[in-house]
């Protein structure tokens, strides 16, 4: 009964997600910290779903991290965003998709601000023209990359070689999803499922055979805090908030955490390593930690990609225990090899267990 009620509420927030022809905007954090993820997303769209998506070499940051750290004015961010829209317009696209939750919040905020204050849009158009000679159209559709994976979750499922099932027990894997604050907390009606029951990742878990974990701190921030992480002196804020989530989820025995935002992914992966080094605590019962994947990495696994070609070895928490639970094939010796099989050594061992 409660489940039905919650499903109904989830469905109450429906969002328009364009069907094809996307202009792609990269993420500062995703491309650096998970450098296979964006190419994987583009591959899934082009080669699995046969969609048209344009990766523009002229595109830049949206400045979101700098904006939320207070070092650039809002006019600057709005004008950089306007330049991105101008690039989209020049390339002949109308559907803008960004690969970062912070960016998604920024683009949405800029569009909402202009909607309520049209004089600001006029001002920014003028500033953009003066500084770059560019002009732009407002995107017809603005979405986050995970929205597209969500939209095509059934198509991916139809092609999937694996399911989120524990091969030995036959039971669904227990999965925590973390949405990232700026996906729907700022503008709840812009995210699939809204702020209270966001469904963009939960829908993937449901569709691909896993079981969602509902835990008390499910909607708590990952602890990025922009300047709270970026400055070493403040970093206790970040780890303390992430730890609050781990402490809250651990009794539900997660097999996997999936994230929407690349920043959240980084914190949930790396702070497990730090907590293990500092306090000797791991959040699984075998001392490996809980693997943390992005939605496109998870989609890549469903589709049967080689885990070491989609960057699963550059997480600090080892993914091998997850692969073993799923009965997923991999060659361990291949994990840390280069493109032509060259030996690149291995990362140093940490206090987290690792199959390396």
């Amino acid at each position: 009964m409660i489940k039905e009620e919650v499903s109904k509420r989830w469905l109450a927030y429906q969002k328009e997600i364009a069907d094809d022809h996307y202009y792609f905007a990269r993420s500062c954090i995703r491309q650096n910290f998970f450098p296979a993820a964006e190419e994987l997303f583009l591959n899934i769209l082009k080669n699995e779903l046969h969609k048209d998506i344009f990766d523009d070499p002229q595109q830049t940051t949206c400045t979101g991290i700098a904006y939320h750290s207070g070092i650039v004015p809002m006019e600057t961010t709005m004008t950089v965003v306007a330049r991105q829209f101008a690039l989209m317009t020049e390339a002949g696209y109308e559907n803008f998709v960004c690969s970062c939750v912070t960016s998604f919040g920024i683009y949405t905020e800029v569009l909402e601000t202009w909607k309520h204050n049209p004089e600001l849009e006029i001002k920014i158009r003028k500033l953009l023209k003066e500084s770059t000679s560019k002009e732009f159209e407002i995107p017809k559709n603005l979405v986050h990359t995970s929205d597209i994976i969500f939209k095509f979750r059934k198509e991916i499922s139809a092609k999937a070689k694996y399911k989120l099932i524990n091969k030995e027990t036959g039971k669904p894997l227990n999965i925590v999803e973390h949405i990232g604050c700026h996906y729907a907390k700022i503008f709840p009606d812009k995210g699939v499922g809204g702020a209270e029951y966001p469904y963009v990742l939960a829908g993937l878990i449901d569709e691909w055979g896993g079981s969602q974990i509902d835990y008390p701190e499910r909607r708590h921030c990952c602890g990025f805090g922009f300047r709270q992480y970026l400055i070493k002196a403040n970093r206790g804020y970040s780890i303390a908030n992430t730890k609050r989530k781990f402490d809250s989820m651990k009794d539900y025995h997660p097999d996997l955490i999936i994230t929407n935002c690349p920043g959240c992914n980084f914190f949930m992966d790396r702070w497990q390593y730090v907590i293990s080094e500092m306090d000797g605590i791991t959040y699984d019962d075998k001392g490996y930690g809980i693997p943390v994947l992005t939605y496109e990495e998870l989609a890549g696994l469903m589709l049967g990609y080689n885990p070491w070609n989609i960057g699963l070895q550059v997480h600090q928490v080892d993914v091998v225990p997850l692969l073993d639970k799923m009965g997923y094939p991999y060659i361990l010796e291949d994990k840390y090899k280069g493109i032509n099989g060259e030996d690149m050594g291995k990362p140093e061992k940490t206090s987290l267990n690792c199959c390396c």
Binding site: R26, C28, I29, Q31, P35, A36, E39, L40, N43, D55, P57, Q58, T60, T63, I65, A66, S69, G70, I71, V72, P73, M74, E75, T76, V80, G105, T113, L127, S131, T132, K134, C181, K185, I186, P188, A195, R219, F226, Q228, L230, I231, K232, A233, R235, G236, Y237, A240, N241, R244, R270, V274, N309, G311, Q316, G338, M344, G345, P347, E348, K349
Partner: protein, 233 residues
């Protein structure tokens, strides 16, 4: 003294974020910063709504306004449509403009943000760039990061990136044309001016504190603001 409240009302974030606060404390209850610092968004909003410039000046010179994490969880929850996180953005902008940021330990950290994230944008086109991130400044990156950096060329090729190459793709070069666009946008929209103010007031503060100040990251002032803390509860 400038009319500080009046100045705040010129910021669109303040206009959007400040309605009448009923002091219910909902924002504080869900605020991650309040769980970590001696920080209370309700107090910030209430202080500001009293329009008392003396109190606002105190706020602008305090650590308080720098403790918010800009998660904007408060935006979803406030029953009166206030947004403490937006009000904080307006307070931070004003504090920077007036040089008050240099009066607090947390505020002084703005120089480190400008010299990392801020300068990366103009140098690489993105806020973060792999070559600028090392495990001395970011030890939580862990050994896997050291390994990735050491093997960047062959590894990133395997992962499908276009590291340091022209054209499209992950970690490709950002063209001079795009970087020039960003620089001109920064110049015309006030980011360059804000950068210069952060540098200017930081240098003055370093002289007052007698700490060596220089360009880049390898000087005593930068290291002290980046590493030191005294106020965590």
């Amino acid at each position: 003294m400038e009319n500080l409240y009046q100045k705040l009302t010129e910021d669109i974030r303040f206009v959007e974020g400040m309605n009448a606060c009923i002091n219910c404390g909902t924002c504080t209850a869900i605020c991650p910063a309040a769980q970590f610092y001696d920080y209370d968004p309700r107090m910030v909003v209430d202080t500001v709504q009293h329009k008392n410039d003396k109190e606002i000046e105190y706020l602008l010179k305090s650590d308080t306004i720098w403790q918010c994490g800009e998660c904007l969880s408060c935006k979803t929850r406030c029953p009166r449509n206030n947004v403490p996180g937006y009000i904080i953005q307006a307070l931070r902008a004003l504090s920077t403009e007036l040089g008050y940021f240099a009066e607090s330990e947390k505020g002084r950290q703005q120089l480190a943000l400008k010299r990392t994230i801020g300068e990366h944008i103009l140098k690489h086109g993105y806020c973060v760039y792999i070559d600028e991130v090392n495990t001395e400044m970011y030890p939580e990156q862990g050994p896997v990061w050291d390994w990735m950096q050491k093997n960047a060329t062959p590894l990133l090729k395997r992962l499908g990136a276009n590291y340091k190459q022209d054209g499209a793709g992950t970690l490709r070069n950002t063209s001079k044309e795009s970087l020039d666009d960003l620089q001109r946008i920064f110049d015309i929209t006030g980011a360059t001016e804000r950068f210069n103010k952060i540098e200017h007031y930081s240098k003055l503060k370093s002289e007052e504190l007698g700490i060596t100040f220089d360009e880049g990251l390898n000087n005593d002032y930068f290291k002290s603001i980046y590493n030191s803390k005294s106020d965590i509860i």
